[in-house]
Symmetry: C7
């Protein structure tokens, strides 16, 4: 038994092969990196000339396609590099593996999410679900698309975080940049207020405000009593605005309505409670 | 060892083949795009003539089918294109792969959700679960259907967001556009109110209101005491209305009932609390 | 390389075959639709005669079976149609596919939920878990069953939404239409109330009420003190009623009990709090 | 191309075979139903004689086994019927299917939950996890077991709903009918109360009450101070009672303790709050 | 076609074989039951003699092993029985099945959770994760272990429910019976209290209490200020006690501390609030 | 048919073989147990000598490795034992199994989580993710590592519970024992307080306190205003302390700051509310 | 039968082989450890010289690559070691295994998450998703990246915990160190305040503050009325700052604004409530 163990360890060729393999791997990775840089420069050139060529591609998809070509280049080069690395490794290791089938099964299963990422990536680009610069929400991540790759997509949050998502997990996308947004403002007035009068005042303001802000697409509208809440009657105002400008317009409408209601002495009510003070019957 | 690595890198044919492959891929994608544009024009024509033909298809599915045909065209063309691209790539890459079985397994697993999307897409259209223009809810997404494709469905939210869902994740659909909706209004009255009297007043109003709004299908009905809540007795009013007009009718009913109860001096109560003021026995 | 790409594109037969395939698909779909309409008429006839035939099937399953037969007809026809379509497509596309095994694997996995839907559908009908017209709850969807198909079930909510569920996601069903329902009414009385007296009054009312509403199956029963809550003692009344009429009876019982307690001057208490007003020791 | 499509449609044999297949399916289903009725009668007979036979099976499993035998009969008959139906269908359809392996894979995966249901069903019955009439909880469903089948189990809720669960989803069962239940009553007393005195009074009552209700197995016990809550000291009383009678006994104990504490003037406290009224330093 | 259907139905042998199969199944199940009873008696005998034999097994695992042997016996016998039943059935049914591979696949997948249960069961017993009589928690189920089987484990809750869990779902076990428990008591004192003084009083009591209750392993310890809450300062007392006696000791400590603090006039504070009464500027 | 059944049952060899198999199993398990005890003693010896040997293993991994060797020994022996048991069983049972492939599939799937446990176990030890004695959190379980095995890890909670986790479910580990901990104390002061003054007082105390407790690594720091809450301004103090001593230091800091603020008359505020007492306009 | 069992146990060779196998395993693990140490030293050297070489790698990825090379070395060596161990074991054990296919299946499935970890690890490094030193969030874990390995990534929380995550569970990464952060401060002012005046005061301060703190990138901005809450009007201030300094700047801005508002006598309001004191009509 000691002989067998000794043979494994003193087997000089095994260690030399191992060393050579590591060097080969390093070399492959270095050359690949150089190759990719050249390729990216070339893509830059192509898109420069394309700008003057008669080829008509919608302006909005330009960035997306440039990024994509770079991406495909990178992956194809790396894929060849990894296959080379694996081959370099299998010279030493592969022969030691009795059950190659087991490894194959494990790799097949382990790589399925990689394949799914790439398939989904293709469809996101071909179906033009979103482009670089769109504001989208995927699961709990929301922000502006910074890069669409074959395998991952990068989304920049408005607070500066960069979300990096594998495409396979982008199943349900919500795109905010295609249609106009809707600014929704809820105003509370007290139950004692004359509701038709309050509606009249708010409607008057809304008519004035329509042309004041250029982001407004159709004049704001007073929908009516949204809810009879515990302490207040809630009126809802909606307004169609340019994509993603609903936060800004909501804030402006909120201020305008608050000031106008103040002018007419209409109270935005605090929480209210009716209290019965009772004499205790027990000690 | 250096020789092997050197051979890989200086292998001129490998790089030329790679370059050719990339060009081929670009060409295939360009031609496919042109082909699809022509196809879409053709589909537009067909549907123009169809309008006059004796072929009778329910009006409501017209848009759906036009979109679908465009969709099938796009996918068939792209599918052929991708197969061509894959073939173009395998000239270079395929030969390097020892275990093609592994890749096959990974691709098979990775593509299963794509297949599921298409199968579910077929059934959504064949079973007519919803059409373009219907208001539906799928999981947490709700809105008007904008496009039903073979692989994805697009739903437009009332606030302007566009939800893009792969069909495979559309398992449980709720369709609001097929049956009449039900407007539900809960009114709180205080425990001290004469309940039969209050019911009489509300019922009287409901009788008047039935013909006032054209969206109402059957006259609104006062169901009775829905709950004896902490501070209030809750009466429930329901009213069958045209599909998706229940939000509007609810708002109108809420206003009418509030004003009518005000007229009769019936209070919508604030939260109430009985308070015992006790002298402290300790310090 | 250019030759290969050129050959693909200028390959006239490929495009012709593609066009023919699309026409064939259109034709198959059209004829299938016609065939199904005739079949449905036939099924209607069969059930018309069946009404007079000696074949005895429980009244309640009649609709279910009619819908089912239509369903099977539809699916069998569409299945043949799709197989034809696939065949029509494979003339062009199939030959291009190197690894048919990969596609087979993906289709096999992707179609498994379809198979599961049909298997579950069979069992729902054979085991008579629910019939058309029953009120059921599946996961978060509740309503009246409108249609049981081989692949999907349609449930209509009382507020008018139509839920469409694939049968495979109907694992745990709750059926409200088979057994009598139980109306449960909780009444709060204050801690200061004489509890045996209050129980006597409620019990008296319950005895009177038993024959008043025809939906009541067994006379309502006062179970006792369900909870000693923060501000109130909660008495529970239960009453076995006809299936799905518990909402109505609960509302009626709630009104009767409220009025009766008012008559006897028994208070339904508001939330209570004991408040110690303390002089501050610090500034 | 038109020829091929035409041939499919005008292929008379195909349509005739399809019609024959549908009739065959109908016939098979009808005869199976008759056969099952006879079988169920036979099972009823066997269990009638078994009542007098020397075969000793625990009384509690009797219903379960009768239901099970009926169930096995039904499934075996239906299984044969479905196999016949499938065979009848494959005469027409089967030959059209190129990749039978794909269908096999899909069916194998789709049917796995069916197999799991039956395996789990066997174990529920063999291990006697619960019998017809037991009160059990499975996931969020609770009630009395109405029927244990090979594939599904039916549980009747106390409010009348019938829950139908596939056995495969019955992983973790809670059975309430095997051991005695424990009635748990928490009583709040105020912080100012003399706690040892209150404990003495409650303990006194518990001693008296032990023989009053026949459902009580061991005399109730006062465990001590369960919690020092915000406004009250909570004492816990527990009492071992007959299976599933803990709701009833809890209600009775709650009433007895409330009345006894009233007699001794011990207050069940309302929520309390100490309030500092402060003069404002700012306007 | 009618001939084929007729042949199926009038095929006498088929029905006879079916009948024989059912009888055979019944017979197999009956004999298996008898065999198991004898086996269980034998196991009882073995353990009786083992008590006197020199074989040394830790006292705590005795019950577990007896239950296990009975369990293995039961499963081996039933397994043979089921195989016999399946064989008896396949005489009739098996031949009808075209694609045995499909069934094999479905059974293989369906049975995997059964295999997982048994594997996990083995490891629970070999690794001695818990024994009969231990108090454990698995997922949301907690109680005393009543039986550890090869496939399922039974846990009795302190309120009397019996939880039956398949071993495969026992992934993460929490065992309360191996190490000493820790009683944790949080005491609220008001912000105005002299905290060092209060700590001194509590510490004094803890020193006295250490020898009073025999379940206490190490004297209780006052950790310090656990939290500065909204209305109170929370002190934490911990005490190492015998396994599972921490509920009892907590209750006793709570009472002792409450009474001791009362003696020294230290208040356990009610929720507090500072209230500013403001004159309204608006109507 | 009766013959076949009779033959199964009266087949003497079958029963004898079954008996022999059970005895063989018992014998194998007994001898394995003995063998393991001897092996564990031997491991103890090895580690005794290793203490003096020049082999240098980091002190912290010593316990881990001893436990691991015992573990490997146990599993290798049990594995051989189980294989023997299975072989002993297959003499009787194996031959009865028609579809060995089905069982293989089920076992392969059922055992995958076992394999995953062992693989993850190896990596936890090789990568030194945590050692015996470390304080870690895995999912919802937190405590001190008591034993790292090949298949399971045991974690002891500070309240005495022992959590037993299969290694396969230890995906995301949080280790508290490697880096210094951070004690975080939030202090509320009222809005009326002079904030710069309060910050000065707290900072002064923090400077004094740095050398007072030896667990403090870097002097505590006052970060500033963490939040402007409803009734209070919240200041945050952080302090780097030795691993896992942050609970202790937090308690001490909390007390020191509370006493120091008391000295300077700075109030920790109760919840505050501004109350408008309004005359009711309605009855 | 006894002979067979006896033969297993007295089979001397089996035990000797087992002993030899264990020793071999020990030897392999020892030599591997030595080998790795030497390799790590070598990597250190390479990176020392690299610092002077013309090879240009972005400064930020330096640590990441050093760690990675060490990691690859470790795994390759351990992989060879484990294969050797497995071989050493299979001499004894392998021959005992009947169904090697079963084991292969189980290992293949069990190892798939290991393969997934390594694949994802490769992509994290190649795509440069994050580097050592970046502040990232993955699922619920957030902190500074300490080490990126092939299989696991280590993240250090700011409170000192070290999170160890397998790369396979790093699907969605949020990187905070790439773009500037955004400090968000919400300020409450009472409804009675003159809002335009308050906005003017805050804006004035923001202009002054822009140059005061060097972490600020663009001057802070007052967005407007973010919400009309129950008791207060909420103004939102945002400010682009250097990555990860938003917590610090928020705290500083909060203090500055609070002090400035105090100067101008603008109240940050407490929760408010309007209270109606009502005379009770009932006793």
């Amino acid at each position: 038994m000691w002989n067998q163990a000794y043979e494994y360890i003193t087997n000089v060729e095994l260690w030399i092969n191992l060393g050579q393999g590591l060097l080969k791997i390093f070399l492959i990775m270095f050359i690949s990196t150089i190759f990719i840089r050249i390729g990216k420069l070339a893509i830059g050139k192509i898109f420069f000339f394309r700008g003057k060529s008669p080829l008509r591609i919608s302006e909005r998809r330009e960035n997306t396609l440039a990024k994509l070509l770079e991406n495909i280049l990178t992956y194809v080069v790396y894929f060849i590099a990894i296959v080379m690395v694996l081959e370099a490794m299998t010279i030493n290791v592969g022969a030691l593996l009795a059950g190659a089938g087991i490894v194959g099964l494990a790799v097949g299963f382990g790589a399925q999410s990689l394949v799914k990422d790439i398939i989904t990536g293709f469809f996101i680009i071909f179906e033009d679900q979103f482009s670089v610069g769109d504001h989208i929400r995927v699961a709990s991540f929301e922000g502006t698309v910074e890069e669409i790759g074959l395998r991952t997509t990068k989304i920049k949050n408005w607070t500066g975080e960069l979300h990096i998502l594998p495409n396979g997990s982008i199943t349900e996308v919500t795109n905010f940049s295609i249609h106009n947004s809707m600014a929704v403002v809820d105003i509370s007035i007290s139950y004692e207020t004359d509701i038709p009068e309050a509606e009249r005042i708010v409607q008057e303001l809304l008519n004035e405000v329509a042309d004041k802000y250029e982001e407004i697409v159709t004049p704001p509208e007073l929908l009516g009593i949204q809810n009879l809440a515990a302490s207040e009657v809630i009126l809802r105002v909606v307004c169609e605005v340019q994509p993603m400008s609903h936060f800004k317009i909501s804030r402006l409408l909120r201020k305008d309505i608050k000031l106008r209601l103040d002018e007419h002495g209409i109270e935005i009510p605090y929480p209210k409670m009716v209290m019965y003070n009772r004499k205790e019957q027990v000690g």
